[in-house]
Subunit: 227 residues, 2 copies
């Protein structure tokens, strides 16, 4: 693995997890020290991330972490629902035994981690298994372009979930694991309409929860929201 690839993985990892905060300038001298390499591999990684919209670049003024906005969250979620519901339809139609097994396996692993508490509870392991579960549902859709866009939108929206993940601040009255199980159940039963409806509901609830948290944390709306 080349240094440029390591730089890409490390930067992407740190941006997605929020260790490099949205909007933060990415100075080459800093990154060079942080990741222990020269400018060349870093610039190559930054250019790749720029094309993925995780990094913004301005001519002769360097790079910064792409900012977040409530508008973008809604935009990305709407498109996600459109693309993922279509992909889910295709997967349910085309999925074979391996697809079913992948869903069962990913759901089980996700539930195991979700049930862990104390020192075993690792929010990032949970996040990885959540990602894997959603991917497993769509894996049989047989469309590389769809899977690429799904991945792009997953990453784009994952950054918005970090405050909730870190605070473990899910609203009371929502059982996300039950939603996942019901989603898997509908898919395995090959009930397209039910599966699609549950996927859409799952995302709409998530985006609403996220929007609430973001509004609460936004100083401009904090007073209004606190009413």
């Amino acid at each position: 693995m080349t240094l440029a690839e390591k730089a890409y993985d490390a930067l992407r990892h740190d941006i997605i997890r929020g260790e490099l905060a949205p909007g933060r300038p990415l100075r080459l001298a800093d990154l060079s020290e942080r990741y222990g390499m020269g400018f060349s591999p870093l610039r190559e990684a930054l250019n790749r991330l720029q094309a993925e919209r995780l990094v913004m670049a301005e001519s002769l003024r360097g790079f910064r972490v792409a900012p977040l906005s409530l508008e973008e969250l809604h935009d990305a979620t709407s498109l996600r629902i459109l693309i993922e519901t279509e992909a889910l339809c295709a997967s349910v139609r085309l999925g074979d035994d391996a697809w079913e097994a992948g869903i069962v396996s990913a759901l089980h692993a996700l539930n195991l981690q979700a049930g862990r508490t104390g020192p075993e509870a690792d929010i990032w392991e949970l996040e990885a298994r959540h990602h894997a579960f959603h991917h497993a549902l769509l894996a049989a859709c047989n469309s590389p372009w769809t899977l690429e866009f799904v991945e792009r939108l997953y990453v784009a929206t994952e950054r918005y979930r970090i405050p909730i993940l870190l605070a473990a601040a899910l609203p009371a009255g929502r059982d996300v694991q039950a939603e996942h199980s019901a989603l898997a159940e509908a898919a395995l039963e090959r009930d397209i309409d039910k599966a699609v409806a549950r996927l859409r509901e799952h995302y709409l609830r998530t985006v609403n929860d996220l929007a609430d948290v973001i509004r609460l944390n936004d100083p401009r709306t904090a007073r209004v929201a606190a009413k």
Copy 2:
């Protein structure tokens, strides 16, 4: 404009137009001579194009122009229809006077160029206006993510149209300009169902024409197709 940006534009341009053929290795020494710059800006451009799937990279083995395949054409077209029909719905719902004017203007410019013959006929100017027309239809959808994906899929499918463009080899019996006019008409009438149906038809006809030409040019299927 930095050299890296010039390199990105030039490489993208040459790949899309087929001047750098699909599958061709992109050696840095060649590119350095071709574009008159050092390795650094070229590598940055290649990394951006890799993220856009116009270039494939393999660790320590350099870059090559991304190959084409009939499967990818069908995959990209299906997804294009899904995303663009949704974007067209939104545009028809949200579009204002400027949106309507943009469509009328782009259609007129496209028709002007399509009518030109002899030395005035410039296939690449026609292509640019075709691109602009399709963009104008969706420009009011108010979704940056959608527009990015539309652009990605347009570029991905444009490479397949080059043989037809260069040969001016459209099948007899198809009037593409009439399709464009009908599409614009339905959109301006705010008839969502009609506009969406015409857009879908437009793309399905195109992909069928392209598939025919590709099969004809493919030595493996040439004999069968010639029957």
